[in-house]
């Protein structure tokens, strides 16, 4: 099965079809996705700005990271659930969308960022507090995370600006895509 046929299959499932064709679900899910961005993005920003020493300096890094762990997971869950619903509802269209591919690639990079820095930075905040200065790798992790997530949000916005190649599309989504910018 090629990726394109996979995208067409995903899109033809019941829930993605409803999200695409019904009147309200799409904008509502997109709004929740946006609220997730505010919540999750805000927490990512606070965590990383703390590592860079720009917010809450008097508070230990461990406090900030541990205090945010649970709501951050909740925010991540919200944003990913909405994202999956949105992406699956227009999977075939997004197959042709360069911003979508860029966003997915950046998300992969965020995953790699996690693999590299979770163990050495985010999972051991107490070690960062006991060090005389915040180590360079923690600041690097913070900068990379901020840049990656900003780029992901921007690419996400970019997705809406690419005109769908109507001649190539298999499913009936003309009425939705024209209004859905």
């Amino acid at each position: 099965m090629s990726l394109l046929t996979f995208a067409q299959w995903v899109q033809s499932l019941a829930i993605p079809t409803t999200v695409r064709e019904a009147w309200l679900p799409y904008p509502i899910i997109l709004s929740l996705h946006m609220c997730g961005i505010a919540l999750f993005g805000g927490m990512i920003a606070v965590t990383n700005l703390r590592l860079l020493g720009l917010v809450m300096r008097k508070r230990p890094i461990a406090d900030v990271i541990e205090g945010l762990r649970v709501p951050k997971r909740f925010g991540f869950l919200l944003i990913v659930t909405c994202g999956l619903l949105l992406a699956s509802s227009k999977a075939e269209e997004y197959y042709y969308n360069p911003f979508f591919w860029a966003k997915m690639s950046l998300l992969t990079l965020v995953g790699i960022h996690g693999l590299i820095f979770r163990g050495s930075v985010y999972n051991h905040p107490a070690a960062l507090d006991s060090a005389p200065r915040v180590p360079g790798r923690a600041k690097l992790a913070a900068c990379l995370s901020l840049v990656l997530w900003t780029a992901i949000a921007c690419c996400g916005r970019g997705i809406g600006y690419v005109e769908p190649p109507l001649d190539k599309l298999h499913a009936v989504l003309i009425g939705i895509t024209l209004g859905g910018r």
Partner: protein, 151 residues
């Protein structure tokens, strides 16, 4: 179709003559509300006992306030610029009107009632209600903004 609210020709606006200007502004706008609403939501979650449980919300709010303000300023600069790309469309758009109403309420609320509840010692009994209302108002602002593109 739309009523003419202001006599202004948006085709001369540089925003409409540069392919990247509008999306770029939107990205900055999103970054702005992430910072402002994200930090406000953190304080609300703290008041609700869902984040920074050991922390007094007043201390957290004091530390977040400058970043909230930076985010608000970014939003209030990029927002009107985005608006200027097609004022008559926005003024006639029901979601936009809703958003402006919600934004006005949210801002007023944030710097009056919300501020009072956050900084008051000891924390008032209505703190959790105040936090939920704050979250609801800001969610309305975000959702209203998004719905502009649909309704």
């Amino acid at each position: 179709m739309f009523l003419q609210y202001v006599n202004y020709d948006p085709s001369t606006n540089p925003l409409n003559n540069n392919e990247w200007a509008f999306p770029f502004l939107e990205c900055i706008h999103i970054a702005g509300f992430t910072l402002s609403i994200g930090t406000i939501a953190l304080v609300d979650l703290c008041m609700l006992g869902l984040a920074f449980r050991k922390q007094a919300s007043a201390v957290l709010a004091r530390q977040m306030a400058p970043w909230t303000l930076v985010g608000l300023v970014v939003m209030l600069i990029t927002g009107p610029l985005i608006f200027s790309s097609d004022p008559n469309m926005y003024l006639g758009n029901i979601s936009f009107r809703f958003k402006m109403g919600a934004l006005l309420l949210a801002l007023l609320y944030h710097y009056t009632l919300h501020r009072w509840a956050v900084y008051r010692e000891p924390a008032p009994a209505v703190g959790k209600v105040v936090a939920v209302v704050s979250l609801g108002l800001w969610i309305s602002v975000v959702a209203g903004g998004l719905f502009i593109a649909f309704f």
